[in-house]
Symmetry: D2
Subunit: 263 residues, 4 copies
């Protein structure tokens, strides 16, 4: 409460890299983070430019979107917005480089434990799940429950989200292609690699890009969307700069037009 009063009175605008201001419904924050929220009436917006750009322009507090959530929401937004998939069918299976686990020292992040190894963690309970659900509801207007499973890849940086959803009846591949074009056609930092394409985390390393490719499985009537970002750029600091540029009325790409480093 105190925190909130103080922040509201400060003559500054805030981009918060933590999770506190990511949720419009603070009871969701409290349920997933197991702490009371201290600024329930904050005027805040979710800091994912491609979805909430207009709200970000004048926001006082921006809750910068998380890394897995950025990759997941950007992958699914066109399909959810145009109501092309069954809302209860979404599964996000994602994998991150180790920098996604932060700089804290834990035995589980010790080099020999992770090198030449692959594993899942926080199955069914990762805190990025409700962020994804909130954004998909905002985008599509429909309550959405998502399965989200993160994995650790023995590499430094990069996230790939592999997203599954059941396509509604009579929706063609061309309609799906068109949805991606419509929603992202003018975006600076979304690169549509197209249908049947394979984004790779290395294609975006060091850059603010989100690369998207999608595949249609006619046998199972599912669409599989692949989404790659650099978790340390578009998934964190780059996103914050992008939000800052929008909030400040600057050109959105200031300081962000850095080419990926390959190989």
């Amino acid at each position: 409460m105190d925190v909130g009063i103080k922040l509201d009175k400060l003559p500054v605008r805030i981009i918060d890299l933590g999770a506190d201001y990511r949720f419009s419904d603070t009871t969701i924050y409290e349920a997933w983070y197991n702490v009371p929220h201290k600024h329930k009436d904050a005027k805040r917006v979710y800091g994912l430019a491609e979805i909430y750009r207009n709200e970000i322009r004048n926001a006082k507090i921006i809750g910068n979107a998380g890394c897995f959530t950025t990759a997941s929401i950007l992958a699914l937004a066109p399909l959810v917005k145009h109501h092309l998939i069954e809302s209860n069918s979404i599964i996000v299976d994602a994998a991150s480089g180790i920098s996604g686990a932060g700089r804290g020292l834990k035995l589980g992040n010790h080099f020999p434990e992770l090198y030449d190894n692959f594993k899942a963690y926080n199955v069914a309970h990762h805190r990025h799940t409700p962020e994804i659900e909130q954004a998909l509801k905002d985008i599509g207007g429909e309550e959405t429950i998502v399965n989200f499973t993160p994995h650790l890849v023995p590499m430094s940086r990069g996230i790939l989200a592999t997203c599954y959803a059941t396509i509604k009846e009579n929706i063609s591949a061309e309609v799906i292609d068109a949805a991606f074009q419509k929603v992202y056609g003018g975006e600076k930092f979304i690169r549509l690699l197209g249908r049947d394409a394979y984004p790779e985390t290395k294609f975006v390393r060091g850059s603010n890009y989100c690369d998207l490719g999608w595949h249609i499985d006619e046998r199972t009537q599912r669409v599989i969307i692949l989404s790659a970002i650099d978790n340390l750029v578009k998934g964190a600091a780059g996103q914050a700069v992008q939000n800052f540029n929008i909030a400040a009325g600057f050109y959105e790409g200031v300081a962000l037009h850095v080419a990926p480093i390959y190989p």
Copy 2:
């Protein structure tokens, strides 16, 4: 045809590491591999000991199970056998070390292309898909269509399959636990890490083990099964030795009780 006649007459028994003898319905082989099958009337069995042990004992030709398929089938078999999941709901999202791609030299497998990188490949079209479907049908008696997505992890060996399925109504977690115990309780090379456990590819590296852990997401009513094998052992040569031991009437673990190497 010629091949078949010749093989049938040979006074030997065969364990084939290729895909030719993995399918009871050779039209499925022809559809996914795009070549005519030359030995359609072969008396063969699928070489996955935990599922087809009795048939392997007397088989003349054993089509050794593939790597992704071994991890996937062993993960799902207890649930399919006891009819605990919706058969049309299965998604297998798997990841393999680079040795799974063979020793052939391709730019895509060149070290700098793969290192510090993560990507999917063959989405909706990987040839291990029909193998998984065939075994699940054999086990559960029901036609099953599966979404299978492989990924490449920058490591040498190891496969982790993350399998999703919708739990049928009124099936409790304890029933699921019991199914794994019943089906695998006496198996030498299946290690049941239990509910809420996290298999890691490094836990099985160099060994013939398949480690299994499972998680229940009450929000989405899905079960997520994690399955780890060493693709070069339980996923290939080790499996062949296990099949050989069974076919020869030997103790099944001869030459296979090698501890995993960690880290």
Copy 3:
């Protein structure tokens, strides 16, 4: 010969990334590369800006310095120039990421052969050896024979050269420090980390920097110089751009002020 005549008549200036124009004495080229040299009378200069800047300004043909050689020569130049080390005592033990081996497909560069592995190659016979010797002679005026040993590190890019030499009698640590300052004090792309410092390949990844640190072992009376570059930038393309800028009369850092990417 033909090649030479044609090149000499072309109204262009050339920066060659191959080894053909790296040697003033083409018999050395012929001895180490086992092919006849076709342009023996070429007017060329060795393309290592920090050492040959003045010659590069007006050169028609610039033989861009190799990757291991750049790291090695820059490490040793101050000591050789100021005659602080015994010329017959130099050993360069270096290690490179796999991109240093080029994009050619060889089993030895296949991912599983190199991952989680470390090895030397071309001991006593690597073709970068005479390049190092030529430059050290140019710098110090003295014939110098060097032991050069390259190793392969399971990483994408980066070279670290660990250089050993016996310090001449009565040369103090401060004199050594001063030599580095004098020779490189004004250089844009040399970062002197100082005595007792540890350059890391990751500190220079993606950049045109060469980081240098040096250590004095009083017990053995040797100096050990550590030199880190990104083999794909300062060791190849970045160096070519730097040479181009000098040759064209541009500001030397055009297009090269890119920060390293870490981690």
Copy 4:
């Protein structure tokens, strides 16, 4: 002191994995480790079977040899024993996988700091230096000062030592070959790959082998010996088991005939 009295009275024999009992001259231990030694009159032996086998048989306290030292001493022993190299000319440039740094959590060992990175550490001051010098003196009877430089390779396990020494005049390559044969011809865990061969850490991974290859540079009159071990086996626990077998009068290879795991 107390410690010593207690240990001496215990009716057990001890294999110590720490450094306390590695030195016959405890003042060397005190100088390099900066702590007083508490058991100066201990009857101990250096636990490197190939060199001190006879002493190990009846030892009460065995100071198990360290990892870098094992690789280095085994590489140089034949040349030192047969007086083929200049004793003041030895340089050991070595590299280790990260498990060599232990399980302690330090930011410097955090995955993203080490992955895709290569660096040296403890130049001129690594505590394995005096161990190497002690053994070489024991073997050759001559005081020897060594330059030892360790590096960290982004891999889990394995050490490669690249050792340089000046060959004495008129010593032929054949004499050098013969020295290796004479000293190691009957050894179970030394594999002589031969002159011009390239040991790789992966060739010994998971095994108790030490692989040796050597090269002669006629231009510089130096021999370069390459030595590979698995630091967690021949460099630590495997060595301890080998010492135990000898001390207990068992067959020396009990529990140690494990094949390396490749790839």
